[in-house]
């Protein structure tokens, strides 16, 4: 299935989402409350069958925080990108996808650790690399005068 | 007596009689015991140092390395240097350790091995004590070391040590059985437990040749079980480096660690020496019935050299096994003993008894 067909199928699966084409992969922006249902729909549907979660990236878009999911279908060998954004920087919360893909467990913990997005329903949400008093270093407003020398 | 030139009996008798002539019998025995004790301790230390060096050289050559080569020619003083270093290393005190047992444990291990080495026949006449239950005594004493290992593991207040010690306990209790049965097989063949008589019985053919298949089987079983009893690879579960860091001696440092280390090598020596005595004729040279010239030449080599040569041959075999095989898991270790070695051993004992009864053993 090429990207155009994939975009059409995905649009049918998750109405009300914004789909961007013409990039490397089909990109789909989902509201945080629709994330879990969209993800499981993408996994269950036999045309898309995204059974592998390749990567979870925490993003800081300035005003908003976001998470980017790279999905792959091992059956059809295609990939797509799922994006979600929250505007609450103080206490951002997104549904955890651990129930859909087990791989999300560690990947979401990493995002929580470095970007500070909390995942609702995550079985074991603890800091992974840093200790609990540390800030969230991958946010753009993170300040560290000692270790980061800006050029 | 064809090898009277090397018979040390008259020499030891001469020391005995001259001592008795110059002092009261009680003092004479005391002086003799001190002489024997000192001689054994010196031998013990030298053998320990040499075996550590030998092991390092052997494994190095197997691994395409050179091994120790800096201290002295060919690195022969490397272990001496290591010993000196270990003497100066700080003895780290362990918090919440059982102080008394922690300090006693290495000595128990050492004492067990010294007691065993005392009863070994090194050459004709060079035999500290010739018990009429020599084999039985050796087996009893050499398994005492495990108490030290268990105490060390328990008193260190370290979970790795405890796991190591418990493994070691399970392992030695099981393998003691195989060692015992393998030796009993040979006792059946020899008809005696006294070491000197056993060696004398091997004058015209070592037991491993005389005993046909059962003796060879017993030898193989003995080597496997003996390796396991000394906690050496591939049965080194008690100190399994990659799992338990260093097992029961994780918390030991300095000379206390050195004692454990030394005891391990001496135990290997003892196991090999027993194997050499019981299966390969001890200090008895290789004789073939009827080949008088050949026997004369063999007799020309001193019995002490024969004994050490055979022992180091077996030691080399054990090193070879260690540096080739990966380690077993604890359940596999016990399976090997209870499901394979023990039935084999009992069957083997039966076979040997039949052979002896039928009279095929000469």
């Amino acid at each position: 299935m090429d990207n155009v067909q994939l975009a059409a199928t995905a649009a049918l699966l998750a109405p009300g989402t914004e789909i961007v084409q013409g990039r490397q992969f089909v990109e789909m922006s989902v509201a945080p409350e629709l994330l879990l249902s969209t993800a499981s729909a993408l996994k269950e549907n036999s045309d898309t069958r995204f059974d592998m979660l390749v990567c979870v990236t925490g993003m800081d878009w300035g005003k908003e925080l976001g998470v980017v999911y790279h999905l792959r279908s091992t059956e059809h060998n295609h990939m797509m990108v799922l994006k979600t954004k929250v505007s609450d920087r103080e206490n951002p919360e997104i549904d955890s996808l651990c129930s859909v893909w087990q791989a999300a467990n560690f990947l979401e913990r990493e995002v929580y650790d470095l970007v500070g997005i909390k995942f609702r329903g995550h079985p074991d949400l603890r800091r992974l690399f840093l200790d609990s008093t540390w800030g969230y270093p991958l946010r753009k407003d993170y300040k560290d005068d000692i270790n980061i020398v800006a050029k | 007596m064809e090898f009277s030139i090397y018979d040390l009996t008259s020499f030891t008798h001469w020391i005995d009689s001259s001592l008795r002539a110059s002092m009261s019998p009680g003092w004479a025995v005391a002086v003799e015991m001190i002489i024997i004790g000192v001689a054994l301790l010196v031998f013990y230390a030298l053998i320990g140092l040499f075996l550590v060096y030998a092991e390092r050289k052997v494994c190095a050559l197997m691994q395409n390395r050179l091994g120790p080569n800096r201290v002295g020619p060919g690195g022969i003083f490397q272990t001496v240097a290591d010993l000196v270093k270990l003497l100066f290393v700080e003895l780290v005190p362990i918090k919440n350790a059982d102080k008394i047992l922690f300090n006693v444990a290495p000595f128990i291990v050492i004492i067990a091995s010294v007691m065993a080495i005392g009863a070994l026949p090194f050459a004709k006449g060079l035999h500290a004590i010739d018990l009429n239950i020599g084999i039985f005594y050796l087996m009893a004493v050499s398994s005492m070391g495990v108490i030290g290992v268990l105490l060390a593991g328990w008193s260190s207040n370290n979970k790795y040590s405890l796991i190591g010690a418990m493994r070691s306990g399970a392992q030695i209790v099981s393998y003691e059985l195989s060692v015992g049965l393998a030796l009993v097989t040979m006792v059946v063949l020899a008809g005696t437990m006294q070491l000197s008589e056993m060696i004398e019985a091997q004058r015209w053919g070592w037991f491993i040749f005389k005993g046909h298949i059962p003796a060879v089987t017993a030898f193989v079983v003995y080597i496997v079980a003996g390796t396991a009893e000394t906690n050496r690879g591939p049965f080194d579960l008690a100190e399994a480096e990659s799992e338990l860091t260093a097992g029961y001696h994780t918390e030991y440092s300095g000379i206390k660690f050195a004692l454990f280390f030394l005891a391990e090598y001496i135990n290997m020596f003892i196991v090999a020496a027993i194997a050499a005595t019981v299966f390969l004729g001890g200090w008895m040279p290789l004789h073939v019935f009827g080949w008088d010239g050949f026997n004369k030449v063999m007799d020309f080599i001193p019995p002490f050299v024969w004994f050490l040569g055979k022992t180091f041959g077996v030691v080399f075999l054990m090193m070879w096994l260690k540096w080739t095989f990966p380690r077993l898991r604890i359940d596999q270790l016990l399976t090997l003993e209870w499901k394979y070695l023990l039935p084999l051993n009992i069957f083997n004992l039966l076979l040997m008894a039949t052979l002896v009864l039928v009279g095929w053993h000469w």
Binding site: - | M62, N64, R65, T324, F325
Partner: protein, 159 residues
């Protein structure tokens, strides 16, 4: 009966596999001259690194004590760790024009990760990699090196 045969077969195959393993280690033990050990401090004289080996960054000087560094600072910009520092100076050259040269080209070996970007991007090929690899010193400040030799000048013809 069948299980007994497989049991025996398993034992024999296992023993054969063990003997195979012993033959490998034993083979090396009894075959002399298979050691691969390098006697490092003793073979210092014969030990030669490959030409490409990235030991440290050096600035080659010719026999007249001249180097090619113009002090443009591209290496300093390209260095990801800030291990190059250039202190420029200006002189008046023979034509009477002001010219930028280097006073000191400071190289912090302790911070260098040997990525090779300075050597690659230098427009006048003034920098190169040296093969020296014994960098251990007792004082960290000794790792800060000045690459241009004292009294050195810019090579003629280098712009």
């Amino acid at each position: 009966m069948k299980s007994f045969i497989t049991y025996i077969k398993g034992i024999i195959e296992g023993l054969i596999s063990l003997v195979k393993g012993l033959s490998v280690t034993g083979g090396y033990f009894f075959k002399p001259g298979t050691t691969w050990t390098q006697q490092y401090p003793n073979n210092r004289k014969e030990l030669k690194m490959f030409d490409m080996f990235k030991g440290e960054v050096i600035m080659p000087h010719n026999e007249h004590n001249e180097h090619k560094c113009t002090g443009c600072g591209i290496c300093e910009i390209n260095c990801p760790n800030g291990s190059i520092e250039i202190i420029p100076a200006s002189i008046v050259n023979e034509e009477g024009k002001k010219q930028r040269i280097i006073d000191k080209h400071i190289y912090h070996l302790g911070m260098c990760t040997f990525c090779g970007l300075c050597v690659k991007t230098c427009p006048s090929q003034a920098l190169a990699f040296g093969q020296e690899f014994e960098h251990a010193v007792f004082d960290r400040s000794k790792l800060n090196k000045v690459l241009n030799q004292p009294g050195s000048k810019l090579m003629k013809g280098v712009v």
